[in-house]
Amino acid sequence: MINFDEEIKKFHPSLEVDETEDAIYNNNITDMTDILLSMIKEKEEDK
């Protein structure tokens, strides 16, 4: 049986066009390669 209150929590507001700029700036585009590179760098510094 569907619990409305539980289900409604799954819905979140959408970003408006005015908020596009903030969304792009706040977008964390750190990927796995960045993490890998930082790990390699740390390893080299330890050496």
């Binding site: 049986m1 569907i2 409305f4 289900e7 409604i8 799954k10 819905f11 979140h12 507001p13 959408s14 970003l15 408006e16 066009v17 005015d18 908020e19 596009t20 969304a23 792009i24 977008n27 585009i29 750190t30 990927d31 796995m32 390669t33 960045d34 890998l36 590179l37 390699i40």
Partner: protein, 458 residues
């Protein structure tokens, strides 16, 4: 694939040929990102949009420079109605790879149609408002907003899902099913939509089973306490078409009202105004005619008075003339009394017309004429000859003219008058002289005076 350190093209070796960096794990990460991209592409092709989005997010988390995966992720978001999310991915993709990037075209396409972008923004705002209403248990308002949202942005999957959830809360499972069907047409294997639809199917099965079991049992007869609820035949109405039809019908009714009610009334008003104007003009014409008649009558009266006054004036003039004549006669009598017979004769000659005079006047007139004319003639005759002999021809003419008045047909006087005119005119026989000579010839043909006259006339 290039080295993360020096940018050299990597070979199959685990180390970079350019800088010798260990690229084993790095190459694995890149390959995995590409693999996820391929899987996401396959899902997107079969319209499993939410699945494709999930996989593509993993791809870009592994390798942010995988612009192909990021562009495809943007497309998936756009197809699901999430415009801002799509735009964000394309902008990031363009920043990472400014040249030869398909995201450039996608961004230009959105920016070129500002109207559509505004419309999308409006739908997002309405969706957010509907979500807020739903969380506040204002289901009716939320449903109204969501209906507008799906009409403006028919691809916003979560709008359909929220609307279906609200219908399910109100046990309107038919409407909920329709919304979920539409959402699955966009995003074929959306788990949330499939979950809700599964719940509705379960409820339908339960209700069918319940109905079947009920039909087996004997039906109880209706009692007085039983309430019969008529079936709700409410259906969704195409509001746009209804509005258009309503407007058209309204226009037709308005036109008919104008034609049948307002136009005749206006015509009647115009007609009555014309009639009033005509009556007014008729009255004015009648008044003018009356005035004209009065003026004509006045004119006639004045004309008659004028005639009367003229007659009176003529009468007065006549009386004046007679009075003047009496005065002249008395003056003539006075001259005779002073022994100026020539003066008296001249005065008598000046009196002229004797018409209308009294007997006493005529008696005195004739008496004075008889007693003065002969002596006056003699006196003037002698004066005229003296003047002629003295070459005073103009004086001679004057005296001879008085003699002519006293004795008009005296040939000698007439001849001397002609002669003195010629002498006075330096010997030229003018018309006046000719007239006198002709008169002499006419009155005394064969006489000496006639012969001398003829000599002058030659």
């Amino acid at each position: 694939m290039r080295c993360y350190r020096c940018g050299s093209v990597l070979s199959d070796s685990e180390f970079c040929n350019g800088c010798g960096a260990d690229v084993k794990i790095y190459k694995k990460i890149i390959k995995l990102s590409n693999t996820y991209y391929n899987i996401g592409l396959e899902k997107a092709k079969v319209r499993d949009l939410s699945g494709a989005a999930d996989i593509l997010r993993r791809s870009v988390r592994l390798d942010k420079k995988n612009t192909q995966a990021r562009n495809l992720l943007g497309l998936v978001y756009y197809e699901m109605g999430e415009v801002v999310e799509a735009l964000s991915q394309w902008v990031i993709s363009k920043n990472i790879q400014p040249e030869k990037n398909a995201a450039d075209d996608y961004i230009k396409d959105i920016q070129s149609n500002q109207t559509k972008l505004e419309s999308m923004n409006t739908t997002i705002k309405k969706y957010n408002a509907a979500l807020s209403y739903a969380k506040d248990n204002s289901d009716d308002l939320a449903i109204i907003q969501l209906k507008k949202v799906v009409s403006l942005n028919p691809r916003l999957v979560k709008a359909y899902q929220l609307l279906a959830l609200l219908y399910m809360k109100r046990d309107e499972y038919g409407k909920a099913r329709k919304c979920l069907t539409k959402s699955l047409a966009i995003d074929m294997k959306n788990t949330l939509s499939m979950k809700y639809l599964g719940e509705i199917e379960k409820l339908n099965l339960v209700s069918d089973t319940a109905l079947k079991s009920e039909s087996v049992k004997e039906k109880k007869p209706l009692s007085g306490n039983d309430v019969i609820i008529p079936e709700n035949s409410y259906r969704d109405v195409n509001y746009g078409l209804m509005q258009f039809i309503t407007v058209v019908v309204g226009i037709l009714i308005g036109a008919a009202m104008v034609y049948f009610l307002i136009t005749p009334a206006k015509e009647n008003n115009v007609t009555s105004e014309y009639k009033e104007t005509i009556n007014e003009y008729s009255e004015n014409i009648s008044k003018l005619n009356l005035t004209l008649n009065e003026l004509q009558s006045n004119l006639d009266t004045l004309t008659a008075e004028n005639e009367s006054l003229k007659a009176s004036l003529d009468e007065a003039a006549k009386i004046g003339d007679i009075t003047a004549a009496y005065t002249e006669l008395l003056e003539a009598a006075a001259l005779y009394a002073n022994d100026d017979k020539t003066g008296c004769a001249i005065k008598i000659l000046s009196l002229g017309d004797e018409e209308g005079k009294s007997e006493e006047y005529m008696a005195l007139y004739n008496a004075l004429k008889e007693k003065s004319f002969d002596d006056a003639y003699t006196s003037c005759y002698n004066a005229a000859y003296q003047a002629e002999n003295s070459s005073r021809y103009s004086d001679a003419i004057e005296s001879f003219k008085i003699c002519e008045q006293l004795q008009p047909e005296n040939l000698e006087i007439l001849y001397h008058l002609g002669k003195n005119y010629v002498n006075n005119n330096n010997g030229v026989v003018d018309d006046t002289a000719k007239a006198y000579f002709n008169k002499v010839i006419e009155l005394g043909p064969g006489t000496n005076f006639a012969g001398w006259s003829e000599t002058y006339l030659k």
